[in-house]
Protein backbone atom coordinates (compact mmCIF):
# COMPACT_ATOMS: atom_id res chain seq x y z
CA UNK A 1 0.00 0.00 0.00
CA UNK A 2 2.80 2.39 0.85
CA UNK A 3 4.12 2.04 -2.65
CA UNK A 4 0.78 3.06 -4.12
CA UNK A 5 0.38 5.96 -1.74
CA UNK A 6 3.79 7.24 -2.70
CA UNK A 7 2.83 7.23 -6.34
CA UNK A 8 -0.26 9.26 -5.58
CA UNK A 9 1.25 12.63 -5.42
CA UNK A 10 3.63 12.33 -8.31
CA UNK A 11 3.08 14.57 -11.23
CA UNK A 12 4.03 11.81 -13.59
CA UNK A 13 0.95 9.70 -12.91
CA UNK A 14 -1.34 12.73 -13.00
CA UNK A 15 0.03 13.89 -16.31
CA UNK A 16 -0.15 10.38 -17.69
CA UNK A 17 -3.73 10.00 -16.57
CA UNK A 18 -4.73 13.26 -18.20
CA UNK A 19 -2.99 12.28 -21.42
CA UNK A 20 -4.74 8.88 -21.42
CA UNK A 21 -8.13 10.41 -20.79
CA UNK A 22 -7.79 13.02 -23.50
CA UNK A 23 -6.34 10.67 -26.07
CA UNK A 24 -9.14 8.19 -25.36
CA UNK A 25 -11.60 10.96 -25.99
CA UNK A 26 -9.96 12.01 -29.23
CA UNK A 27 -9.87 8.47 -30.53
CA UNK A 28 -13.52 8.00 -29.65
CA UNK A 29 -14.45 11.01 -31.71
CA UNK A 30 -12.44 10.05 -34.71
CA UNK A 31 -13.94 6.55 -34.58
CA UNK A 32 -16.62 7.71 -37.00
CA UNK A 33 -14.56 9.55 -39.57
CA UNK A 34 -17.40 10.76 -41.76
CA UNK A 35 -19.45 12.29 -39.00
CA UNK A 36 -16.34 13.79 -37.46
CA UNK A 37 -15.45 15.60 -40.69
CA UNK A 38 -19.05 16.82 -41.00
CA UNK A 39 -18.92 18.08 -37.40
CA UNK A 40 -15.73 20.04 -37.98
CA UNK A 41 -17.16 21.57 -41.17
CA UNK A 42 -20.36 22.44 -39.30
CA UNK A 43 -18.42 24.25 -36.60
CA UNK A 44 -16.55 26.30 -39.21
CA UNK A 45 -19.82 27.24 -40.91
CA UNK A 46 -21.29 28.26 -37.55
CA UNK A 47 -18.33 30.51 -36.81
CA UNK A 48 -18.58 31.90 -40.32
CA UNK A 49 -22.23 32.91 -39.91
CA UNK A 50 -21.37 34.75 -36.72
CA UNK A 51 -18.74 36.63 -38.65
CA UNK A 52 -21.11 37.38 -41.54
CA UNK A 53 -23.53 38.95 -39.08
CA UNK A 54 -20.85 41.36 -37.91
CA UNK A 55 -19.76 42.05 -41.47
CA UNK A 56 -23.33 42.77 -42.56
CA UNK A 57 -23.75 45.40 -39.85
CA UNK A 58 -20.49 47.16 -40.63
CA UNK A 59 -21.06 47.00 -44.33
CA UNK A 60 -24.05 49.29 -43.89
CA UNK A 61 -22.83 51.69 -41.21
CA UNK A 62 -19.31 53.10 -40.93
CA UNK A 63 -18.84 52.38 -37.25
CA UNK A 64 -20.55 49.98 -34.84
CA UNK A 65 -20.53 51.06 -31.20
CA UNK A 66 -17.71 53.45 -32.07
CA UNK A 67 -15.55 50.78 -33.75
CA UNK A 68 -14.52 50.44 -37.36
CA UNK A 69 -14.78 47.06 -39.10
CA UNK A 70 -11.14 46.17 -38.36
CA UNK A 71 -11.52 47.14 -34.69
CA UNK A 72 -14.77 45.20 -34.35
CA UNK A 73 -13.02 42.23 -35.95
CA UNK A 74 -10.41 42.33 -33.17
CA UNK A 75 -13.20 42.17 -30.56
CA UNK A 76 -14.86 39.33 -32.46
CA UNK A 77 -11.60 37.37 -32.68
CA UNK A 78 -10.78 37.72 -28.96
CA UNK A 79 -14.30 36.61 -28.03
CA UNK A 80 -14.21 33.64 -30.42
CA UNK A 81 -10.84 32.40 -29.24
CA UNK A 82 -11.82 32.66 -25.58
CA UNK A 83 -15.16 31.00 -26.13
CA UNK A 84 -13.88 28.15 -28.28
CA UNK A 85 -11.17 27.19 -25.78
CA UNK A 86 -13.63 27.35 -22.87
CA UNK A 87 -16.14 25.31 -24.85
CA UNK A 88 -13.48 22.80 -25.88
CA UNK A 89 -12.59 22.10 -22.26
CA UNK A 90 -15.89 22.44 -20.42
CA UNK A 91 -18.65 22.40 -23.02
CA UNK A 92 -19.75 18.97 -21.72
CA UNK A 93 -21.38 20.59 -18.70
CA UNK A 94 -23.96 21.82 -21.18
CA UNK A 95 -25.56 18.38 -21.22
CA UNK A 96 -25.42 17.87 -17.45
CA UNK A 97 -29.15 17.26 -17.20
CA UNK A 98 -28.81 14.35 -19.64
CA UNK A 99 -25.94 12.91 -17.61
CA UNK A 100 -28.12 13.12 -14.50
CA UNK A 101 -31.14 11.59 -16.17
CA UNK A 102 -29.27 8.72 -17.81
CA UNK A 103 -27.41 7.81 -14.62
CA UNK A 104 -24.01 8.64 -16.13
CA UNK A 105 -23.29 10.87 -13.16
CA UNK A 106 -23.58 7.87 -10.83
CA UNK A 107 -20.84 6.07 -12.72
CA UNK A 108 -18.63 9.17 -12.46
CA UNK A 109 -19.29 9.34 -8.73
CA UNK A 110 -18.00 5.79 -8.19
CA UNK A 111 -14.57 6.63 -9.62
CA UNK A 112 -11.66 8.03 -7.64
CA UNK A 113 -11.49 11.33 -9.53
CA UNK A 114 -13.33 14.64 -9.18
CA UNK A 115 -16.47 14.66 -11.35
CA UNK A 116 -15.55 17.95 -13.01
CA UNK A 117 -12.21 16.59 -14.18
CA UNK A 118 -13.91 13.52 -15.61
CA UNK A 119 -16.41 15.71 -17.45
CA UNK A 120 -13.65 17.87 -18.91
CA UNK A 121 -11.93 14.86 -20.37
CA UNK A 122 -15.09 12.96 -21.26
CA UNK A 123 -15.97 15.51 -23.87
CA UNK A 124 -12.83 16.99 -25.25
CA UNK A 125 -14.64 18.01 -28.40
CA UNK A 126 -12.06 17.98 -31.11
CA UNK A 127 -14.61 19.19 -33.63
CA UNK A 128 -14.71 22.47 -31.77
CA UNK A 129 -11.17 22.96 -32.94
CA UNK A 130 -12.82 24.03 -36.23
CA UNK A 131 -14.25 27.06 -34.48
CA UNK A 132 -10.93 27.85 -32.83
CA UNK A 133 -9.11 27.70 -36.17
CA UNK A 134 -11.57 30.17 -37.66
CA UNK A 135 -11.15 32.47 -34.64
CA UNK A 136 -7.36 32.44 -35.03
CA UNK A 137 -7.75 33.32 -38.69
CA UNK A 138 -10.01 36.24 -37.75
CA UNK A 139 -7.38 37.37 -35.23
CA UNK A 140 -4.65 37.33 -37.86
CA UNK A 141 -6.82 39.44 -40.15
CA UNK A 142 -7.68 41.87 -37.33
CA UNK A 143 -4.00 42.35 -36.46
CA UNK A 144 -3.22 43.00 -40.08
CA UNK A 145 -6.03 45.52 -40.54
CA UNK A 146 -5.77 47.47 -37.27
CA UNK A 147 -3.01 49.81 -36.41
CA UNK A 148 -1.93 48.97 -32.87
CA UNK A 149 0.88 50.94 -31.30
CA UNK A 150 2.56 48.03 -29.47
CA UNK A 151 4.36 48.35 -26.15
CA UNK A 152 5.33 45.64 -23.61
CA UNK A 153 2.16 46.18 -21.59
CA UNK A 154 -0.02 45.70 -24.65
CA UNK A 155 1.83 42.51 -25.61
CA UNK A 156 1.18 41.10 -22.15
CA UNK A 157 -2.47 42.09 -22.38
CA UNK A 158 -2.73 40.54 -25.82
CA UNK A 159 -1.45 37.22 -24.46
CA UNK A 160 -3.51 37.07 -21.27
CA UNK A 161 -6.76 38.18 -22.87
CA UNK A 162 -7.60 34.92 -24.71
CA UNK A 163 -6.56 32.90 -21.64
CA UNK A 164 -8.71 35.01 -19.32
CA UNK A 165 -11.52 34.78 -21.86
CA UNK A 166 -11.24 30.98 -21.96
CA UNK A 167 -11.27 30.91 -18.16
CA UNK A 168 -14.32 33.18 -17.95
CA UNK A 169 -16.28 31.08 -20.43
CA UNK A 170 -15.08 27.87 -18.75
CA UNK A 171 -16.40 29.16 -15.42
CA UNK A 172 -19.71 30.13 -17.04
CA UNK A 173 -19.97 26.59 -18.44
CA UNK A 174 -19.37 25.14 -14.98
CA UNK A 175 -22.06 27.41 -13.56
CA UNK A 176 -24.44 26.48 -16.37
CA UNK A 177 -23.80 22.79 -15.64
CA UNK A 178 -24.30 23.29 -11.91
CA UNK A 179 -27.60 25.10 -12.43
CA UNK A 180 -28.98 22.01 -14.18
CA UNK A 181 -28.93 20.15 -10.87
CA UNK A 182 -31.71 22.43 -9.68
CA UNK A 183 -33.50 23.06 -12.95
CA UNK A 184 -34.38 19.74 -14.51
CA UNK A 185 -34.36 21.18 -18.00
CA UNK A 186 -32.01 23.99 -17.15
CA UNK A 187 -30.10 23.81 -20.38
CA UNK A 188 -31.73 26.91 -21.82
CA UNK A 189 -31.14 28.87 -18.64
CA UNK A 190 -27.46 27.92 -18.70
CA UNK A 191 -27.17 28.70 -22.38
CA UNK A 192 -28.39 32.23 -21.71
CA UNK A 193 -25.15 32.82 -19.84
CA UNK A 194 -22.73 30.80 -21.98
CA UNK A 195 -23.91 31.33 -25.56
CA UNK A 196 -25.53 34.61 -24.60
CA UNK A 197 -22.26 35.67 -23.01
CA UNK A 198 -20.41 34.81 -26.19
CA UNK A 199 -22.81 36.95 -28.23
CA UNK A 200 -22.34 39.94 -25.94
CA UNK A 201 -18.57 39.40 -25.79
CA UNK A 202 -18.18 39.59 -29.56
CA UNK A 203 -20.12 42.87 -29.73
CA UNK A 204 -18.69 46.33 -29.24
CA UNK A 205 -19.85 47.05 -25.69
CA UNK A 206 -20.75 50.65 -26.43
CA UNK A 207 -23.64 49.37 -28.55
CA UNK A 208 -25.36 48.18 -25.36
CA UNK A 209 -27.61 50.27 -23.09
CA UNK A 210 -25.83 51.61 -20.04
CA UNK A 211 -27.39 49.22 -17.48
CA UNK A 212 -26.53 46.33 -19.80
CA UNK A 213 -22.97 47.61 -20.09
CA UNK A 214 -22.61 47.54 -16.32
CA UNK A 215 -24.29 44.13 -16.02
CA UNK A 216 -22.14 42.48 -18.66
CA UNK A 217 -18.96 44.00 -17.26
CA UNK A 218 -19.33 43.73 -13.50
CA UNK A 219 -21.84 40.88 -13.05
CA UNK A 220 -21.40 38.56 -16.02
CA UNK A 221 -17.99 39.75 -17.22
CA UNK A 222 -18.61 39.20 -20.93
CA UNK A 223 -17.26 42.54 -22.12
CA UNK A 224 -14.02 41.89 -20.23
CA UNK A 225 -13.34 38.96 -22.56
CA UNK A 226 -12.79 41.02 -25.68
CA UNK A 227 -14.20 44.52 -25.86
CA UNK A 228 -12.54 46.08 -22.82
CA UNK A 229 -9.01 44.78 -23.57
CA UNK A 230 -9.46 45.81 -27.21
CA UNK A 231 -10.13 49.37 -26.02
CA UNK A 232 -6.77 49.35 -24.24
CA UNK A 233 -4.94 47.92 -27.26
CA UNK A 234 -6.58 50.43 -29.61
CA UNK A 235 -6.21 53.32 -27.13
CA UNK A 236 -9.89 54.17 -27.29
CA UNK A 237 -12.16 55.73 -24.67
CA UNK A 238 -14.80 53.32 -23.38
CA UNK A 239 -18.47 54.08 -22.88
CA UNK A 240 -19.73 55.15 -19.43
CA UNK A 241 -20.41 51.61 -18.20
CA UNK A 242 -17.18 50.10 -19.48
CA UNK A 243 -14.27 52.48 -18.78
CA UNK A 244 -11.12 51.47 -20.62
CA UNK A 245 -9.23 50.56 -17.41
CA UNK A 246 -11.53 47.54 -17.18
CA UNK A 247 -9.41 46.08 -19.99
CA UNK A 248 -7.05 44.79 -17.34
CA UNK A 249 -9.80 43.18 -15.26
CA UNK A 250 -10.14 40.00 -17.34
CA UNK A 251 -7.80 37.83 -15.30
CA UNK A 252 -8.96 38.91 -11.83
CA UNK A 253 -12.57 38.55 -12.98
CA UNK A 254 -11.80 35.02 -14.21
CA UNK A 255 -10.32 34.09 -10.84
CA UNK A 256 -13.27 35.47 -8.88
CA UNK A 257 -15.77 33.86 -11.25
CA UNK A 258 -14.05 30.47 -11.00
CA UNK A 259 -14.14 30.66 -7.21
CA UNK A 260 -17.86 31.37 -7.24
CA UNK A 261 -18.68 28.78 -9.89
CA UNK A 262 -16.68 26.07 -8.11
CA UNK A 263 -18.64 26.79 -4.94
CA UNK A 264 -21.83 26.51 -6.95
CA UNK A 265 -20.61 23.24 -8.51
CA UNK A 266 -19.83 21.83 -5.11
CA UNK A 267 -23.23 22.80 -3.83
CA UNK A 268 -24.72 21.13 -6.91
CA UNK A 269 -22.95 17.82 -6.26
CA UNK A 270 -23.97 18.05 -2.62
CA UNK A 271 -27.52 18.69 -3.69
CA UNK A 272 -27.41 15.55 -5.83
CA UNK A 273 -26.02 13.33 -3.11
CA UNK A 274 -28.43 14.92 -0.67
CA UNK A 275 -25.65 16.15 1.62
CA UNK A 276 -27.33 19.53 1.93
CA UNK A 277 -26.31 22.67 0.06
Amino acid sequence: MAEIEALDSTWVTNAKLLRLLISARLRSQTAYRGSFAADVAGQVVLALTEFVELYAILHNIPTFGGLTFAQALLVFAFASIGFSIGDLLLGETDSMSDAIRMGKLEVLLTRPLPVLLQLMTSDFQLRRVGRLAFALLAMAAALFLTDIDWDPGKVVLFIITPLAGAAIFGALFVGAGASQFWLVDGRQFGNAFTYGGRYVASMPGAALFLPMQVFFTFVVPATLVAYAPSLVLLELEGPAGIPSWTGWLGLPAAVVLWGLMLLLWRAAIKKYTGAGG
Partner: protein, 327 residues
Protein backbone atom coordinates in the same frame (compact mmCIF):
# COMPACT_ATOMS: atom_id res chain seq x y z
CA UNK B 1 -16.44 -5.85 9.21
CA UNK B 2 -16.45 -4.40 5.75
CA UNK B 3 -19.96 -2.91 5.72
CA UNK B 4 -21.68 -1.55 8.78
CA UNK B 5 -25.09 0.01 8.37
CA UNK B 6 -26.95 1.22 11.40
CA UNK B 7 -30.51 2.50 11.34
CA UNK B 8 -30.02 3.65 7.78
CA UNK B 9 -32.87 5.67 6.30
CA UNK B 10 -33.33 7.65 3.17
CA UNK B 11 -36.29 9.86 2.29
CA UNK B 12 -37.02 11.59 -0.96
CA UNK B 13 -39.19 14.62 -1.30
CA UNK B 14 -41.32 14.49 -4.38
CA UNK B 15 -43.10 17.57 -5.61
CA UNK B 16 -46.63 17.13 -6.81
CA UNK B 17 -48.45 19.45 -9.15
CA UNK B 18 -50.82 21.70 -7.25
CA UNK B 19 -54.56 21.36 -7.57
CA UNK B 20 -57.19 24.03 -7.90
CA UNK B 21 -57.43 26.95 -10.27
CA UNK B 22 -55.43 29.96 -11.26
CA UNK B 23 -52.60 30.83 -8.95
CA UNK B 24 -53.37 27.91 -6.71
CA UNK B 25 -52.07 25.59 -9.41
CA UNK B 26 -48.62 27.02 -8.94
CA UNK B 27 -48.59 26.25 -5.28
CA UNK B 28 -46.85 22.92 -5.10
CA UNK B 29 -47.28 20.30 -2.48
CA UNK B 30 -44.53 17.95 -1.63
CA UNK B 31 -44.73 14.42 -0.36
CA UNK B 32 -42.02 12.47 1.42
CA UNK B 33 -41.23 8.96 0.28
CA UNK B 34 -39.38 6.64 2.65
CA UNK B 35 -37.26 4.62 0.25
CA UNK B 36 -35.25 2.96 3.01
CA UNK B 37 -36.31 2.84 6.65
CA UNK B 38 -34.11 1.95 9.62
CA UNK B 39 -32.07 -0.65 7.84
CA UNK B 40 -29.30 -2.21 9.95
CA UNK B 41 -26.93 -4.93 8.83
CA UNK B 42 -23.27 -5.81 8.74
CA UNK B 43 -21.22 -7.70 6.21
CA UNK B 44 -18.03 -9.54 7.14
CA UNK B 45 -14.95 -9.65 4.96
CA UNK B 46 -15.11 -12.46 2.41
CA UNK B 47 -18.85 -12.93 2.65
CA UNK B 48 -21.10 -13.15 -0.39
CA UNK B 49 -24.42 -11.51 0.32
CA UNK B 50 -27.48 -11.39 -1.91
CA UNK B 51 -29.60 -8.29 -1.46
CA UNK B 52 -32.98 -9.07 -2.89
CA UNK B 53 -36.38 -7.51 -3.04
CA UNK B 54 -39.08 -6.42 -5.44
CA UNK B 55 -38.77 -3.39 -7.68
CA UNK B 56 -38.98 -0.21 -5.67
CA UNK B 57 -38.19 -2.04 -2.43
CA UNK B 58 -35.17 0.18 -1.72
CA UNK B 59 -32.31 -1.93 -3.06
CA UNK B 60 -30.77 0.65 -5.36
CA UNK B 61 -31.12 3.40 -2.79
CA UNK B 62 -29.21 1.30 -0.26
CA UNK B 63 -26.49 0.58 -2.80
CA UNK B 64 -26.18 4.28 -3.58
CA UNK B 65 -25.74 5.01 0.11
CA UNK B 66 -23.03 2.36 0.38
CA UNK B 67 -21.10 3.64 -2.65
CA UNK B 68 -21.16 7.33 -1.78
CA UNK B 69 -23.69 8.45 -4.37
CA UNK B 70 -26.35 9.31 -1.78
CA UNK B 71 -26.16 10.59 1.79
CA UNK B 72 -28.42 8.77 4.27
CA UNK B 73 -31.23 10.92 5.65
CA UNK B 74 -30.45 9.41 9.02
CA UNK B 75 -28.39 6.58 10.45
CA UNK B 76 -24.78 5.64 10.08
CA UNK B 77 -22.87 3.72 7.44
CA UNK B 78 -19.22 2.75 7.09
CA UNK B 79 -17.79 0.83 4.16
CA UNK B 80 -14.18 -0.41 4.29
CA UNK B 81 -13.81 1.76 7.39
CA UNK B 82 -14.73 4.91 5.45
CA UNK B 83 -17.76 7.17 5.33
CA UNK B 84 -19.05 6.82 1.79
CA UNK B 85 -20.03 10.37 0.81
CA UNK B 86 -17.40 12.48 2.59
CA UNK B 87 -14.63 10.02 1.65
CA UNK B 88 -16.06 9.10 -1.73
CA UNK B 89 -12.83 9.12 -3.72
CA UNK B 90 -10.86 7.17 -1.14
CA UNK B 91 -13.67 4.63 -1.02
CA UNK B 92 -13.77 4.38 -4.82
CA UNK B 93 -10.27 2.94 -4.74
CA UNK B 94 -11.26 0.16 -2.39
CA UNK B 95 -14.51 -0.94 -3.96
CA UNK B 96 -15.63 -2.04 -7.40
CA UNK B 97 -19.12 -1.20 -8.61
CA UNK B 98 -21.03 -2.80 -11.46
CA UNK B 99 -24.34 -1.30 -12.51
CA UNK B 100 -26.06 -3.82 -14.76
CA UNK B 101 -27.73 -1.17 -16.82
CA UNK B 102 -25.06 1.47 -17.20
CA UNK B 103 -21.60 1.22 -18.57
CA UNK B 104 -18.33 2.47 -17.23
CA UNK B 105 -16.42 1.45 -20.34
CA UNK B 106 -15.44 3.85 -23.11
CA UNK B 107 -18.21 3.27 -25.59
CA UNK B 108 -16.49 4.05 -28.88
CA UNK B 109 -13.11 2.53 -28.06
CA UNK B 110 -11.95 -1.09 -28.34
CA UNK B 111 -12.66 -2.92 -25.08
CA UNK B 112 -8.97 -3.27 -24.25
CA UNK B 113 -8.47 0.53 -24.29
CA UNK B 114 -10.63 1.12 -21.23
CA UNK B 115 -8.25 -0.75 -18.95
CA UNK B 116 -5.14 1.47 -19.11
CA UNK B 117 -7.38 4.47 -18.34
CA UNK B 118 -9.00 2.75 -15.37
CA UNK B 119 -5.58 1.61 -14.17
CA UNK B 120 -4.34 5.20 -14.25
CA UNK B 121 -7.51 6.47 -12.55
CA UNK B 122 -6.79 4.12 -9.69
CA UNK B 123 -3.18 5.34 -9.68
CA UNK B 124 -1.78 1.92 -10.35
CA UNK B 125 1.50 1.54 -12.20
CA UNK B 126 1.39 -0.65 -15.26
CA UNK B 127 3.44 -3.32 -13.49
CA UNK B 128 0.50 -3.72 -11.14
CA UNK B 129 -2.60 -3.51 -13.32
CA UNK B 130 -1.26 -5.25 -16.44
CA UNK B 131 -0.83 -8.74 -14.88
CA UNK B 132 -4.22 -8.40 -13.24
CA UNK B 133 -5.75 -7.47 -16.58
CA UNK B 134 -4.21 -10.54 -18.24
CA UNK B 135 -5.57 -12.72 -15.46
CA UNK B 136 -9.08 -11.25 -15.70
CA UNK B 137 -9.05 -11.36 -19.47
CA UNK B 138 -8.13 -15.03 -19.43
CA UNK B 139 -10.60 -16.07 -16.76
CA UNK B 140 -13.50 -14.23 -18.36
CA UNK B 141 -12.53 -15.13 -21.91
CA UNK B 142 -12.31 -11.54 -23.13
CA UNK B 143 -9.65 -12.40 -25.73
CA UNK B 144 -11.80 -12.75 -28.87
CA UNK B 145 -13.42 -9.32 -28.53
CA UNK B 146 -10.74 -7.19 -26.85
CA UNK B 147 -10.19 -5.22 -30.06
CA UNK B 148 -13.89 -4.62 -30.77
CA UNK B 149 -15.42 -1.26 -29.85
CA UNK B 150 -17.58 -1.60 -26.75
CA UNK B 151 -20.66 -0.39 -28.63
CA UNK B 152 -20.43 -3.46 -30.90
CA UNK B 153 -20.27 -6.04 -28.10
CA UNK B 154 -23.20 -8.24 -27.19
CA UNK B 155 -24.71 -7.66 -23.76
CA UNK B 156 -23.02 -10.78 -22.40
CA UNK B 157 -19.62 -9.74 -23.72
CA UNK B 158 -20.04 -6.22 -22.43
CA UNK B 159 -21.02 -7.41 -18.95
CA UNK B 160 -17.91 -9.57 -18.76
CA UNK B 161 -15.94 -6.46 -19.71
CA UNK B 162 -17.76 -4.40 -17.07
CA UNK B 163 -17.01 -6.92 -14.33
CA UNK B 164 -13.35 -7.11 -15.37
CA UNK B 165 -13.22 -3.28 -15.30
CA UNK B 166 -14.68 -3.19 -11.78
CA UNK B 167 -12.16 -5.75 -10.55
CA UNK B 168 -9.03 -4.35 -12.20
CA UNK B 169 -7.85 -2.47 -9.11
CA UNK B 170 -8.31 -5.53 -6.84
CA UNK B 171 -11.15 -4.06 -4.76
CA UNK B 172 -11.83 -5.47 -1.31
CA UNK B 173 -15.56 -5.23 -1.90
CA UNK B 174 -17.49 -5.59 -5.13
CA UNK B 175 -21.03 -4.28 -5.31
CA UNK B 176 -23.08 -5.52 -8.24
CA UNK B 177 -26.48 -4.09 -9.07
CA UNK B 178 -28.38 -6.59 -11.22
CA UNK B 179 -25.27 -7.99 -12.91
CA UNK B 180 -27.06 -10.75 -14.80
CA UNK B 181 -30.07 -8.80 -16.01
CA UNK B 182 -30.81 -9.59 -19.64
CA UNK B 183 -28.02 -12.16 -20.00
CA UNK B 184 -28.49 -15.58 -21.60
CA UNK B 185 -28.02 -18.73 -19.52
CA UNK B 186 -24.44 -19.38 -20.62
CA UNK B 187 -23.26 -15.84 -19.94
CA UNK B 188 -24.99 -15.85 -16.58
CA UNK B 189 -23.35 -19.11 -15.61
CA UNK B 190 -19.84 -18.04 -16.63
CA UNK B 191 -20.22 -14.76 -14.76
CA UNK B 192 -21.36 -16.57 -11.62
CA UNK B 193 -18.56 -19.08 -11.87
CA UNK B 194 -16.04 -16.28 -12.19
CA UNK B 195 -17.39 -14.25 -9.26
CA UNK B 196 -17.40 -17.32 -7.06
CA UNK B 197 -13.80 -18.09 -8.03
CA UNK B 198 -12.78 -14.49 -7.37
CA UNK B 199 -14.22 -14.62 -3.87
CA UNK B 200 -12.58 -17.93 -3.01
CA UNK B 201 -9.23 -16.98 -4.52
CA UNK B 202 -8.84 -13.38 -3.32
CA UNK B 203 -11.28 -13.19 -0.41
CA UNK B 204 -13.19 -10.45 -2.21
CA UNK B 205 -16.45 -9.55 -0.51
CA UNK B 206 -19.49 -9.64 -2.78
CA UNK B 207 -22.76 -7.79 -2.37
CA UNK B 208 -25.22 -8.19 -5.17
CA UNK B 209 -28.78 -7.26 -5.92
CA UNK B 210 -30.66 -9.47 -8.30
CA UNK B 211 -33.99 -10.60 -9.59
CA UNK B 212 -32.61 -13.99 -10.48
CA UNK B 213 -32.89 -16.59 -7.71
CA UNK B 214 -30.25 -18.75 -9.37
CA UNK B 215 -27.68 -15.95 -8.89
CA UNK B 216 -28.32 -16.05 -5.19
CA UNK B 217 -28.28 -19.83 -5.00
CA UNK B 218 -25.02 -20.12 -6.88
CA UNK B 219 -23.17 -17.26 -5.23
CA UNK B 220 -24.43 -16.25 -1.83
CA UNK B 221 -24.42 -17.98 1.52
CA UNK B 222 -26.51 -15.27 3.03
CA UNK B 223 -29.41 -13.18 1.86
CA UNK B 224 -30.92 -9.92 2.92
CA UNK B 225 -34.49 -9.47 1.80
CA UNK B 226 -35.72 -5.92 1.67
CA UNK B 227 -39.40 -5.21 1.38
CA UNK B 228 -40.93 -1.76 1.31
CA UNK B 229 -37.72 -0.19 2.60
CA UNK B 230 -37.26 -2.49 5.61
CA UNK B 231 -35.19 -5.64 6.01
CA UNK B 232 -37.66 -8.49 6.06
CA UNK B 233 -35.22 -11.37 6.29
CA UNK B 234 -31.53 -11.69 7.07
CA UNK B 235 -30.20 -15.19 7.19
CA UNK B 236 -28.54 -18.13 5.52
CA UNK B 237 -29.58 -19.43 2.20
CA UNK B 238 -30.95 -22.73 3.56
CA UNK B 239 -34.12 -20.98 4.64
CA UNK B 240 -34.50 -19.57 1.18
CA UNK B 241 -33.70 -22.66 -0.82
CA UNK B 242 -36.63 -24.52 0.69
CA UNK B 243 -38.91 -21.88 -0.61
CA UNK B 244 -36.99 -21.25 -3.80
CA UNK B 245 -36.73 -24.88 -4.78
CA UNK B 246 -40.33 -25.49 -4.04
CA UNK B 247 -43.14 -25.16 -6.44
CA UNK B 248 -42.23 -24.50 -9.99
CA UNK B 249 -45.20 -24.16 -12.26
CA UNK B 250 -45.81 -26.05 -15.50
CA UNK B 251 -48.29 -24.51 -17.91
CA UNK B 252 -49.64 -27.06 -20.36
CA UNK B 253 -51.76 -26.51 -23.46
CA UNK B 254 -53.72 -29.55 -24.59
CA UNK B 255 -54.89 -30.24 -28.09
CA UNK B 256 -58.51 -30.56 -26.95
CA UNK B 257 -60.31 -29.03 -23.97
CA UNK B 258 -60.07 -31.11 -20.85
CA UNK B 259 -61.73 -31.07 -17.47
CA UNK B 260 -59.21 -30.45 -14.71
CA UNK B 261 -60.67 -33.30 -12.68
CA UNK B 262 -59.83 -35.71 -15.48
CA UNK B 263 -56.07 -35.15 -15.12
CA UNK B 264 -54.06 -37.89 -13.49
CA UNK B 265 -51.36 -36.22 -11.39
CA UNK B 266 -48.45 -37.95 -9.65
CA UNK B 267 -47.62 -37.16 -5.98
CA UNK B 268 -45.94 -33.74 -5.56
CA UNK B 269 -48.05 -32.05 -8.22
CA UNK B 270 -51.11 -29.91 -7.73
CA UNK B 271 -53.62 -28.63 -10.24
CA UNK B 272 -53.88 -24.86 -9.90
CA UNK B 273 -56.54 -24.11 -12.47
CA UNK B 274 -57.59 -24.09 -16.09
CA UNK B 275 -57.89 -21.29 -18.61
CA UNK B 276 -59.09 -20.91 -22.18
CA UNK B 277 -62.05 -23.23 -21.68
CA UNK B 278 -59.95 -26.12 -20.47
CA UNK B 279 -57.18 -25.92 -23.11
CA UNK B 280 -54.55 -24.40 -20.78
CA UNK B 281 -53.84 -25.87 -17.35
CA UNK B 282 -51.48 -24.69 -14.64
CA UNK B 283 -49.84 -27.33 -12.48
CA UNK B 284 -47.55 -26.60 -9.54
CA UNK B 285 -44.96 -29.20 -8.61
CA UNK B 286 -42.07 -29.64 -6.19
CA UNK B 287 -38.91 -30.38 -8.19
CA UNK B 288 -37.34 -32.23 -5.26
CA UNK B 289 -40.13 -34.84 -5.40
CA UNK B 290 -40.93 -34.84 -9.06
CA UNK B 291 -38.99 -34.03 -12.21
CA UNK B 292 -40.55 -31.98 -14.97
CA UNK B 293 -40.10 -34.92 -17.35
CA UNK B 294 -41.94 -37.30 -15.02
CA UNK B 295 -44.78 -34.84 -14.62
CA UNK B 296 -45.07 -34.39 -18.37
CA UNK B 297 -45.05 -38.15 -18.92
CA UNK B 298 -47.82 -38.59 -16.35
CA UNK B 299 -49.95 -35.83 -17.83
CA UNK B 300 -49.47 -37.13 -21.37
CA UNK B 301 -51.30 -40.31 -20.47
CA UNK B 302 -54.54 -38.33 -19.95
CA UNK B 303 -54.53 -36.25 -23.14
CA UNK B 304 -52.38 -35.07 -26.04
CA UNK B 305 -50.09 -32.18 -25.07
CA UNK B 306 -49.72 -29.37 -27.65
CA UNK B 307 -47.34 -27.02 -25.84
CA UNK B 308 -45.87 -26.35 -22.44
CA UNK B 309 -43.79 -23.83 -20.50
CA UNK B 310 -42.07 -23.87 -17.11
CA UNK B 311 -42.09 -21.00 -14.63
CA UNK B 312 -39.79 -20.31 -11.73
CA UNK B 313 -41.31 -18.75 -8.63
CA UNK B 314 -40.98 -14.98 -8.96
CA UNK B 315 -39.15 -12.89 -6.45
CA UNK B 316 -42.27 -11.06 -5.27
CA UNK B 317 -43.79 -14.40 -4.22
CA UNK B 318 -40.60 -15.46 -2.50
CA UNK B 319 -40.31 -12.24 -0.59
CA UNK B 320 -43.88 -12.60 0.53
CA UNK B 321 -43.29 -16.18 1.67
CA UNK B 322 -40.05 -15.34 3.43
CA UNK B 323 -41.66 -12.40 5.10
CA UNK B 324 -44.45 -14.52 6.52
CA UNK B 325 -42.14 -17.38 7.52
CA UNK B 326 -39.73 -15.01 9.30
CA UNK B 327 -42.44 -13.74 11.58
Amino acid sequence: MIIEAEQLSRNFTVAEAGEGRGWNRLRRRSRTIHAVRDVSFTVERGEAVGYIGANGAGKSTTIKMLTGILVPSSGRVTVCGLQPVPQRQALARKIGVVFGQRSQLWWDLPLQDSFPILGAMHRQPESRWRPRFSELSEQMGLGPFLTSPVRQLSLGQRMRGEVAAALLHRPELVILDEPTIGLDMISKESLRRFLDFERREHGTTLLLTTHDMSDVQRLCQRILVVDDGVIAFDGPLTGLSEVAEARRTMVIDFVAPLDGAGLVLPPGAEHLGAEAEGIRHRIAFDPRLLSAAALLAAVSTSAEVADLSLHEPDIEDLVRQLYTSAR
